[in-house]
Symmetry: C2
Subunit: 429 residues, 2 copies
Amino acid sequence: MNRVNIAVLGLGTVGQGVIMLLKKQKEEMKKATGCEICLKRCLEKFITKKLDVELEPGVLTDHWSEVLNDPEIQIVIETIGGIEPARTYILQALRAGKNVVTANKDLLAACGQELFKAAAEAHKDLYYEASVGGAIPLVGPLRQSLAASHLSQVMGIVNGTTNYILTRMEREGRAFDDILQDAMNLGYSEADPSADIEGYDAARKMAILATLAFHSQVTINDVYVEGISRVDLEDIRSARRLGYAVKLLGIARLDRQLIEVRVHPALIPLDHPLASVHDNMNAILVNGRDLGDSMFYGVGAGRLPSASAILGDVAAIARNIKNDCEGRLNLLDRRERAIKPMQDVETRFFLRLVLADRPGVLAQIAEVLGNHGVSLARVLQTNLREGDAELVLVTHGVRDGDMQLALTEISGLAATREIVTVLRVEGLE
Amino acid sequence: MNRVNIAVLGLGTVGQGVIMLLKKQKEEMKKATGCEICLKRCLEKFITKKLDVELEPGVLTDHWSEVLNDPEIQIVIETIGGIEPARTYILQALRAGKNVVTANKDLLAACGQELFKAAAEAHKDLYYEASVGGAIPLVGPLRQSLAASHLSQVMGIVNGTTNYILTRMEREGRAFDDILQDAMNLGYSEADPSADIEGYDAARKMAILATLAFHSQVTINDVYVEGISRVDLEDIRSARRLGYAVKLLGIARLDRQLIEVRVHPALIPLDHPLASVHDNMNAILVNGRDLGDSMFYGVGAGRLPSASAILGDVAAIARNIKNDCEGRLNLLDRRERAIKPMQDVETRFFLRLVLADRPGVLAQIAEVLGNHGVSLARVLQTNLREGDAELVLVTHGVRDGDMQLALTEISGLAATREIVTVLRVEGLE
C-alpha cells in the first residue's frame, strides 16, 4: 500500500475538522485511493492552544521549516486563512514540490493567479474545493466535467449568513439587526459580520467562480459589491407583493468577450429556482450554451462539510501521486478578458420612492426615466400620510450608468421626498 | 500539440450531437486538454442513413473491425444504446487498449460490473457521465470529490418524462393519458413510453447511482420498481390538500450494511427541495454523514446536454492520455453488500379507501392497521355518494411486508368497497 504523508497548517475550526474526519474516514480514504494517508505534521502558531483532537506525539510544531523541509510530506493542507503567512507557505510548498489543498477564499480571490502559476511551474496540484460552497462539489465539476463547455453565466446564493438573515426577515417580519444577532449566536456569522453582510465573502467566491468559468483572471477588486445592510422589511414586503423574493446574488456573466461580475441584493421571481433556497443554504446555477442549466445546492459552510471537501481533494491528489500525474488540471491556456464597467451592465430595477402626492408627479418621474432610456414594467402607487405617496416601480432593462443619471435627476425634483430603495431585478427573461 | 483520435459508435440523436458539438467546441477542447481531438471513425449499421452532420470522406464505416483494429483510435464513444452489440464492442475496445465513453444506462445497469472489471484489467478509462442526469455533473463528483465520503442516501427525480406528466397533471388538472400524448408530441418520450412510465428508465439510473455511492454491485434487477400509470388526478389533489406533491422518486439508501434501492411514485412535503422540481427537470439529493446534503439539479436529457456530458468525459480522458494515467478512477475496492428485501423496507404510506359509511368502520380499519403495527398520522374522511365514504390516511413508518398484510386483511372486510390508492410518503423525518 502506498503511503502519502500530509501536513495541516492552522488548527482552527476547519483544520481540526480535517484531522477528525481523516481518522473517521481512514478506511474510505484507503479504499478510494489505494493509499494510506498519514498525518505527519500540524503547524500551529499557538502551540499550547487547547484542541478538540488528539495528536500523535511529535506531530505538532510551530516551525514552518519542519513542514517545508520534510521531503516525505507530499500534501500540505492550508487552513490558516487570510493572506499572510498562508500565501508564502503555499508558494514555498509548491516550489518545494509539494501539492496543496486550501480552503482560503480570501487568498484565492486576491492572489489566485500567483498561486496557480506556481502550481503550474512546479507541475503540482493546487486544489480548493472547500473555498466555495462547502461540501457542494462545484470547483471540481467546473475544473473537470465542464472545463471544455462554453459557459455563459454562473449565478447564485453563495453566502449562508446573509441568506439566513433575508429568509428570516421575510418569514417572520423581523428587522435586520435583530436577526443578525441570532445568526451570530448560532455561529452562522463571524464575530465581525461585516465580510458577510457587506457582500465581501460572496464577492471572493464569485471571483473564484468567474476565474474558473471563464478561464480568465478575476480578483476581488473586479467584483462590484453591495451588501444587504440597507435592505429593509418594507422592501421585502413590496417585493413579495409583486411576486419576488429578495436575495443576495452573485452573478458572473460572459457578454461577448467582457466579464460582468457583481454581488448585490436583488429581486428574483418567486418561481425562480434560487427563490426557494432558504435559511443558510447555498445554491449555484451554471448556464452553458449547449449544456442547459445545472444547479448545485447544499450547505455552504461549516466544520465538517468544509473538512469533507478538503478530504475529497486530498483523495484526488493521493490518486494523482500514485499515478504520477499531479498538475494535470493546471490550466493550460488563460485568456485575458476585460471586466465590463458597472455603468455598462444592464439590469432591471426596483425603485421605491416617496413623492409629493399631487397630480402630474407620476408623469414627471416617468418622463425623467424615459429621457434616460428607462421604461416601466410595473407601477404601484400607495397613499401615505397627508400629502405624500409611495411609488413602487419595476423597470425594463437599462444601463446602470443611465439609471444613476436618472436617479440623480429624480432626487433633484421638487416633488421628490426620498429615494427609499434602489434594488436590481434578476432572473427574468 | 498532442493528437487524440476518437471514434463514435452509432449515429443516432446523441451520437450526431457529439459530432456537432465536437466541431463547435474544438477550441475549448484544445484549451482544456492541450490535445487536438480528431474524429477518425464513425460506425453506423445503416450506412446510407441521412445525417444531420457532415463527415469527412472515409470516416463513416459499417465495419466494427475498422475501429477495433485501428491502433490510432484511443477513445471509443458508444452511443448505440441497448445491450448488444454495445456490450461486446465496449469489452473488445477496452481489451484492445482503448478508453471508452458511454451514455448507455441500460447496459451499465445490467452488466456494469463486467465492463468495470474489463476497464480495471486493461488500466483504461470507462467514463459514463451522460448515463444519468444528462449534463448535470453527477457521476464525476460521485467518482471523485465524494468518493471517500461516507454517503448514506441518494434520492431524486431522475426521469424527465414522468416528472413532466406529474407536473402538468397537478398544474392543469388534466388526466394522465392526455398529457402523455403531449409529452410524446414534444419528443420528451420515446415512441414506446413504457420504460419511462413504468419506472424502468429511473430504475436503471438508480442502479448506476447506488453502485457508485455504495461501492457495491447494484443491477436493475435489484431495484424495486413501480411506475406512475396508476397515479390518478384525485391522488394528486388529495396529496396537495395534505401538503404534499406526488413525484416519481428514486431512492438508494444504506441501512447498516444493506442497500435499499427502489423507484416508485411517492408523496413528498411541499417544502421539500425535490417538491419544487418541475416539468422535465431532474434533481438528485446526496446525503452524507459529515457532508451535509447536496442537490444537483438540471435538464436530465436531450441531444446537446448528453453530448456535452460526453465531451466532458472525452476531455478528461484526453488529459489522462496526455499524462499517462488512464484507469486512475477504476474502483480499487468493491464491497459486496446485500440488497434489503422490499418487505423489510420501512416507509410511511398514503392510502385512499372507499368504505361503507356506517358507524364503527373507521375504528375497524384502524384496528386492522394497528394489529400489523401501523399507526396513523393523519385521517381525512369525506362522504361520497349514498352509503359510501372516502377515507384518506397517512401512516407513520411501517415495514412494507406488514403493510401488505394489513392491506390484504382490509380488502377482505365487508365494509371495504375499494382500496383505491396505496402510495408511499417520503421526505419526512
